[in-house]
Symmetry: C2
Subunit: 479 residues, 2 copies
């Protein structure tokens, strides 16, 4: 038992130090490694396989709504970036600049894309001429660079992977519809695939994307009560079209500016999975996203027939479409259990000589540790059912945690008490003034997460200034 | 008919100007667009969908051999790059340098990866300690940057997409096996999926990758008789391990250097597809890689029932697993035919009122224009068969072209005549001296493409110097 204990003991308890627990899990579950490049990480096979599943599932959902994938250059000439002044202001402090190509200094420096609104606008300018060319609903999967000072694996790194959708439309209404449609794709993906409940809403002007008319967001709550912005969708109106001269001839034969949107989701969602579902034994992956869903672990594997039976079970599960593996290494069963738990594999199947005598195996759920004895005759069906239940339970548990950590403040005193003592979301009324929003951040250390679509009437007045207020806002500390 | 003609007339005939034909096709088939970033291109939906299919199919073949995907940073610190001096010499003239991050100049400049041997070595140094950690068989899908002076869409651009596999092994034998295994994966992929026949062989020392002990290559022949290096696989021996200190404790408890390989295939394969299979009407895509395999085109679509029937056929084909679309735009059938041909869609299904009366449709092959009348009762089965035949025929046709453009030179005079007058591969004996290889390039404008695995004895002496020679080499002009 000494060895197994040791494996888990390498993880700091989340109640003792959540940040250290997080760092321990990403390392011990072999999701990432640090590199010689400051602020950049290696995403190792166990981490990248999660990203591949996120890509596969999101891409499928995108394409169902008519999205087409493209690839644009990673470099943006400085003059092109500068055309949209708000965007430059937002990103200038955090872009990386290429100043030399080969042995020659460049005549104009190029930034490594922090996001690609400018390049897509430059491209659409040449690609869009008539209403017949619209809409264009494009997306790209790539990496982007933002020169962050402090970094954390998955949550904030100088280079990260994402998808960025960029669309162009003939009317403001259509752009607004697409903005909301993609936010809902993100929300459904988070809830159905990642088992992470989200609040859907709109960002305040202070928190919106540089250059956007409106930014929509989904916000999730981590186990420690801090919020994570999980996906954003922006409506640019015709602001970029005016800056980059994207005009088209409409049906009425007049020249009009086009309307644009953009929307993105990143590898930080791997961080969200860890921080929403993980526990003191390591990672807990929702079955729908887990690269390996079932680990078959032979008990007394040197006894005749055990390894064969374990392999047979693995094959039966795989044939039924489950992502199944077998651990036939020469480690002890206890070590293998701890390893499977650390890696967050949703269920394990234990099979030994005694089980074989009774034509059964024991399935153990990663999330609850519940043990379920099942007949080998129906193991694939039972495993699939248990995975489904686990997925559902994980979502419900995360939702219950989120709900029990969402508070309501009608007065300044309540707001002060909650933000000081109760980690989580605080719902409170806001007058709409930027000054109040700034003061709330200054005084209580929380930011507005969103103005949720599902509004509630908590009070008649702003929680800070006492003036008339009709907007209910989610506030919280955020990653 | 004026309009249809116009569409095709926009393409220069390949016999008149092959380079212009190529440029016309990539533009008119909407595969790429040029950008404000010199030497970089936008890969548009029709081009990117081909790349997605290449990725899907190659990735599947990789994973069958045990490859795992990872992601490493795009930046390489200059000091890290410099550890392997041969590699630096090879790439120094063509890397892009980041010298500023945010508002501050960097203390050490970073190059944008031209390839990632150095980063993988730095990573493996920390990740590999014992023979139990070996082998590591990793791959990444990403973009790389090489500051080329002259660029052409897909064939040579400053940024391009590729995969780069990097493996590390306990023995030299295992590394050599993996090097050859991946070359064969590439070769099978080219022949089976892209319908492009390849010559498998080894590069001469002059042409091998900087820092490699041996480079293996597959070489294909374009329609104009120029060669294209289509995929390479490198054995590094323990050279990188020595430079980057990758050591492991072997079974015998001694410390040993590890052995490495790398292998890559790029978006230039889209250029190969164009130049091997295309014709004066545009692109011709092999069915196995075509994003759209069948275009259903209604004839007299305003007549009652025609559009419904066309949609029904499209649905029947899609239900049978074929990638089918319908063109119900308000263009003329002739325009639609020309458009489908331009885009290289392998077959079209023509369905009009007269066909409907007879419960039939006409299938037209893109490659041969052959028209095949089929009963609607078995259209999915027939379409699938025709696609299979087309795939096979395209490979055979490309092979026949390659074979008829592969020449044998036993003497210097023959070599001079062929290289001057007959575009294609020339097989000739070589003594193995670098001086002869340099002189051949200088005198005849051809480079050694590879020393093929399938050797033939053409003569006893080197085609250039007349000394004893036992190596038969493929020579040619190359992209």
């Amino acid at each position: 038992m000494a060895k197994e204990k040791k494996l888990v003991e390498q993880i700091t308890s989340m109640d003792v130090d959540f940040a250290q627990w997080y760092t321990d899990v990403v390392k011990k579950a072999e999701l990432i490694d640090y590199t010689s490049v400051k602020g950049c990480m290696v995403i190792k096979p166990a981490g990248y396989a999660i990203w591949e599943n996120i890509q596969k599932e999101l891409d499928r959902r995108f394409k169902e709504t008519g999205v087409e994938n493209v690839y644009l250059p990673m470099f943006i000439p400085e003059s092109l970036l500068k055309k949209e002044s708000e965007l430059v202001e937002g990103f200038a402090p955090e872009v990386a600049w290429v100043t030399q190509g080969g042995l020659e200094p460049l005549q104009e420096r190029l930034c490594v894309r922090p996001t690609s609104e400018t390049l897509f606008s430059d491209f659409y300018k040449n690609d869009v001429h008539s209403y017949r060319d619209l809409p264009k609903v494009y997306n790209q999967w790539c990496s982007v660079v933002r020169w962050e000072k402090t970094t954390r694996p998955f949550l904030r790194s100088r280079e990260f992977l994402w998808q960025e959708g960029h669309t162009v439309h003939a009317t403001a209404e259509e752009a607004q519809e697409r903005t909301e449609q993609m936010l809902n794709v993100y929300a459904d993906f988070c809830e159905e695939t990642l088992a992470i409940p989200v609040v859907r809403g709109r960002k305040t002007d202070k928190e919106k994307f540089a250059g956007a008319v409106a930014t929509y967001t989904i916000e999730s709550l981590m186990h420690d009560g801090q919020a994570l912005q999980s996906g954003t969708s922006h409506n640019f109106g015709d602001k970029f079209a005016q800056a980059y001269d994207i005009q088209f001839t409409d049906k009425d034969n007049t020249l009009k500016y086009a309307y644009q949107t953009s929307w993105g989701m990143t590898t930080r969602m791997i961080g969200a999975i860890i921080m929403v579902h993980g526990d003191d034994s390591g990672l807990v992956l929702p079955p729908n996203i887990a690269p390996v869903q079932v680990m078959v672990i032979p008990i007394q594997q040197k006894k005749e027939g055990v390894l064969d039976k374990a392999a047979e079970i693995r094959n039966t599960l795989a044939a039924a479409g489950l992502r199944a593996r077998m651990d036939d290494s020469d480690k002890s069963p206890g070590w293998k259990f701890a390893d499977q738990e650390m890696r967050g594999i949703p269920i394990r199947v234990e099979i030994g000589p005694k089980d074989m005598e009774q034509n059964q195996a024991v399935i153990v759920r990663r999330d609850t540790r519940e043990k379920i004895t099942v007949s080998l005759d129906e193991i694939a069906q039972k495993a699939a059912e248990i995975l489904q239940t686990e997925q559902k339970d994980m979502f419900e548990r995360a939702k219950a945690h989120r709900d029990s950590h969402t508070y309501t403040a009608a007065t300044k005193e309540e707001f002060a008490d909650i933000t000081a003592n109760k980690p989580g979301f605080v719902k409170a009324m806001w007058c709409g003034d930027r000054a109040c929003e700034d003061a709330i951040k200054e005084s209580y250390g929380v930011t507005s997460r969103c103005i949720p679509f599902a509004q509630e009437h908590i009070a008649d007045t702003c929680v800070f200034c006492g003036k008339k207020a009709d907007k209910m806002v989610y506030w919280g500390k955020a990653y």
